[in-house]
């Protein structure tokens, strides 16, 4: 398999998170990942989108999948690591970050958002 990229842009609305979950599952199926790994990635991407939904003021969220033989890299725009104290759902979002860091192999926050890596064995 070559290096493939898939880009998904959704409106910044909770209605579209289930679409991201379905798309993520379907995409992971192509990467020879097992059911547990697919579930981990699906949950992590959804949590990254929830984070972005709460914390970005942009109209849309960009999700980028980069797939090669060794790893799956997912970037979600607008997600941030430090949740502001005045956010009403602060505790939920902190749980979200804890879940992402536990389920993915590598997690980096940068100025764009979050980058999550799952290695393919």
């Amino acid at each position: 398999m070559n290096k493939d990229s898939v880009l998904l842009t959704i409106p910044n609305k909770p209605d579209y998170i289930s679409l991201v979950r379905l798309t993520s599952s379907s995409l992971c199926n192509k990467c020879k990942l097992n059911i547990d790994e697919i579930e981990d990635i699906k949950v992590s991407i959804a949590e990254a989108c929830l984070n972005s939904l709460s914390l970005t003021d942009k109209d849309s969220i960009n999700i980028e999948f980069n797939i090669d033989e060794e790893k799956l890299i997912i970037q979600v725009s607008g997600a941030v690591e430090n949740i502001p104290d005045d956010l009403s759902e602060k505790k939920d979002r902190e749980l979200g970050i804890l879940i992402i860091k536990s389920l993915m192999d590598k997690v980096v926050f940068n100025e764009m958002g979050i980058e999550m890596i799952k290695f393919i064995e």
Binding site: D15, V43, L50, L95, G96
Partner: protein, 109 residues
């Protein structure tokens, strides 16, 4: 991709039995929490969440369960969880929420 919750009172065990079905996420958790707390306030007792039909939960759903637990604890009642699927149980482990709820069939009951 849908969600509903079957809720009924078990007169034998004297507790609310709540069976969420489908995906408990940002779209569905808020109403679920409000409904459960409303019923609890009509008749205060322990709660049993039966997870056999729950396919997915996100941090918003976990937050809703914590919110329900806070209200139930205020009245000195407990929440039991049973039949939680492994993918969801994993999230309770990661977030250490397994220590806040009583999981039926395990040591902490």
């Amino acid at each position: 991709m849908s969600f509903e919750a079957n809720i009924k009172y078990d007169e034998v065990e004297n507790l609310w039995v709540i069976q969420p079905e489908g995906d408990m996420d940002i779209y569905t958790s808020g109403d679920f929490k409000d409904n459960v707390i409303k019923l609890f306030e009509e008749r205060e007792s322990d709660l049993l969440f039966d997870g056999k039909c729950l396919d997915y939960i996100d941090s918003t759903g976990l937050g809703a369960l914590i919110g329900i637990l806070k209200r139930v604890n205020e009245s000195n009642h407990k929440i039991y969880l049973s039949n939680i699927k492994p993918n969801i149980r994993k999230l309770f482990d990661i977030t250490e929420l397994d220590k806040l709820f009583i999981i039926r069939g395990e040591d902490n009951e």
